[in-house]
């Protein structure tokens, strides 16, 4: 369809059209050069900082010197808490919505609607909520646990949407033949549907991780600023994104290490992105069969 549209349109180019199509090439060119500018700047500024010692030593002098080891550990712990909570809830909800809920069921519609709103909530509002609920009301304080739980609320809509898409891509014949064999729905789900939907699950997982790692505003008042090595989940821990923010805004002379941290963050995200597109490529191939 895309190709036919292209051909259709190209056959008749009048004078003014030539000018307009020039403009249509100009905009992507500008966007691309801006992208290269941003990425190039981060790489140029960060590559000098990036070495093994930077990744494995603690920050010194409020981050101007030294590395980011405790910050990487905190980031991973926050991510771990986030996934440990959001994965069961997210996958469970997606299974219910995709497999056990008819289209017009009130409960399913209500859950869907509320997830749609949740997906649009600004991250700073998640931060306020996390601070009021997890840190204050539940008494977890500024801790990795508070931060991870706040992020869990944030990535739920992403996880659920991707898992649901994965499940609905499983051919209906699977369910029919399994039902005709008298297999329980639980076993059908466990042995047939979930394995077949694994690529969708993985894409959701990877997207959720990407969103969680990039997040800053939701963590400032939940996981806090402390840049020491965390000893428990109730310790405050500084994530990589907060480290970049703090170094560039609050620490004069912290730009060099901020560049280094930004490059590490970008590299992690590029890796995640590559995994996601590899998986969804595999995914769309299985879909076409």
């Amino acid at each position: 369809m895309n190709l036919s549209g292209l051909k259709m349109i190209r056959q008749n180019q009048y004078g003014l059209d030539k000018v307009i199509s020039l403009f249509f090439w100009l905009v992507p060119l500008i966007v691309t050069s801006l992208f290269i500018w941003i990425l190039g700047d981060i790489i140029r500024g960060g590559i000098g900082q990036l070495n093994w010692a930077f990744l494995t030593t603690a920050p010194l002098d409020t981050g101007r010197q030294g590395g980011i080891a405790p910050i990487l550990v905190s980031t991973l712990l926050i991510l771990g808490v986030c996934l440990a909570v959001s994965l069961p809830i997210g996958i469970g909800t997606a299974i219910l919505l995709a497999e056990f809920t008819p289209n017009h069921n009130w409960f399913g519609r209500l859950v869907r609607r509320s997830l749609d709103v949740l997906a649009g909530v600004p991250s700073i509002v998640f931060g306020l909520f996390g601070n009021a609920f997890f840190a204050k009301t539940l008494g977890l304080g500024f801790s990795i646990l508070s931060g991870g739980l706040t992020l869990a609320c944030m990535v739920l809509p992403i996880l659920i949407r991707a898992t649901e898409t994965g499940l609905s891509a499983v051919p209906q014949e699977y369910r029919l033949s399994s039902a005709s064999l008298g297999i329980s729905r639980t076993s059908t789900l466990w042995h047939l549907l979930l394995p077949a939907a694994t690529p969708g699950l993985l894409v959701g997982l990877v997207l959720g991780i990407g969103r969680a790692i990039a997040e800053t505003a939701a963590l400032i008042f939940t996981s806090g600023y402390v840049d020491r090595m965390p000893t428990s989940l109730l310790d405050s821990g500084r994530s990589l994104s907060i480290h970049i923010f703090d170094l560039s805004m609050n620490v004069t002379g912290g730009d060099a290490n901020a560049y280094g941290s930004a490059l590490v963050l970008i590299l992690i995200l590029l890796l995640i992105n590559a995994i996601a597109s590899y998986l969804s490529g595999k995914y769309s191939k299985t879909l076409k069969v």
């Binding site: 369809m1 895309n2 036919s4 549209g5 259709m8 349109i9 056959q11 008749n12 059209d17 403009f23 249509f24 090439w25 905009v27 992507p28 691309t32 801006l34 992208f35 700047d41 981060i42 500024g45 469970g92 909800t93 219910l96 056990f100 008819p102 289209n103 509320s114 997830l115 749609d116 709103v117 649009g120 909530v121 600004p122 509002v125 931060g127 306020l128 909520f129 601070n131 009021a132 609320c153 609905s168 029919l176 039902a179 729905r185 639980t186 789900l189 990039a214 997040e215 800053t216 505003a217 400032i220 008042f221 994104s241 970049i244 923010f245 560039s248 805004m249 930004a262 970008i266 992105n273």
Partner: protein
């Protein structure tokens, strides 16, 4: 879209033939209830924290007080609302045409390999964390603007960074809605001898209208909610700006800056601004829903 009605295949009495199915469904319902209740929890806790100050000074104080000075019991949010509104409007006005042109480029102008490469690039832009955009804005863009017109940290810097950040949203949504334009329309247009621009302007854009609206609503929400990038490049002076080179403070930046030391009514006032943001997002979600319903 056709969706199998799974339930109808399994009449209710067969449904719970297996005890474990019964347990599974209730377990899943419990998990879904948790997922569904998060948004209510957020609303509830924001309200709970915002109520003390709302009860004490009322809603009008947030629009009528002399200034934003919570220490002196002045809670005027209007300059911050201007800050959020102006950065949002500037970014949406810039990003919408750029994004739509980008999507049209992918569909109708670029050869296949370039189009898919450009799509990948836009997806990567969408994945760059806001703190990295903010950092780049702070060390590259702000000094440039400073040379043009000091101080550099300004409404303009905020608009520029925000435009880049919301561009992927509108591009990807527009791209998806152009993909749904029936090919017969294009063939018809070609058969009538319409120019390529004429085809796009009179056939493609009108038939993708509702998708484009949804994209604008989504990018607006993103622009209003963005915190880190605007916090880092806008200068954060509480004022209604006179020019595009003046520093501004957005609602989100205000929360991020002051939460760390805010107590009592001050803290409560910050939750009021959070509630305001959430309110706008809910209105946008309803608008998106209405556009969607109109289309179908």
């Amino acid at each position: 879209m056709w969706k199998p009605k799974t339930l109808s295949l399994f009449p209710l009495r067969n449904w719970f033939k297996y005890r474990k199915d019964f347990l599974l469904v209730w377990l899943l319902r419990g998990l879904s209830a948790i997922a569904g209740i998060v948004i209510l929890l957020i609303l509830g806790f924001l309200l709970r924290e915002a109520l003390p100050v709302l009860e004490e000074v009322g809603i009008t104080a947030f629009f009528r007080d002399d200034s934003w000075n919570p220490g002196e019991k002045s809670y005027n949010l209007v300059p911050m609302i201007w800050g959020t509104g102006l950065t949002m409007m500037g970014a949406v006005l810039l990003a919408t045409p750029l994004g739509i042109v980008s999507a049209l480029f992918c569909h109708y102008y670029a050869p296949m390999p370039i189009a898919s490469l450009y799509r990948r690039l836009i997806e990567l832009l969408a994945g760059i964390p806001s703190v990295v955009y903010g950092f780049w804005g702070l060390v590259v863009l702000v000094p440039l603007i400073n040379r043009l017109h000091p101080p550099g940290t300004s409404l303009l810097a905020g608009i520029a960074v925000l435009t880049l950040m919301i561009l992927p949203t509108i591009t990807l949504v527009a791209d998806a809605s152009f993909a749904k334009v029936p090919p017969e329309y294009l063939m018809g247009a070609a058969a009538m001898g319409l120019s390529s621009w004429g085809t796009i302007w009179q056939i493609v854009i009108p038939s993708a209208k509702s998708g484009l609206f949804t994209g604008v609503i989504l990018e607006t929400g993103r622009a209003i909610g963005e915190t880190m990038a605007v916090l880092m490049v806008c200068g954060n002076v509480v004022q209604t700006p006179d020019s595009i080179f003046d520093p501004v403070r957005t609602l989100t930046a205000n929360i991020a800056l002051e939460m760390a030391y805010a107590l009592d009514n001050h803290r409560s006032a910050l939750f009021v601004s959070g509630l305001l943001l959430l309110g706008v997002i809910i209105v946008l979600a309803i608008a998106a829903e209405l556009v969607d319903r109109e289309a179908s």
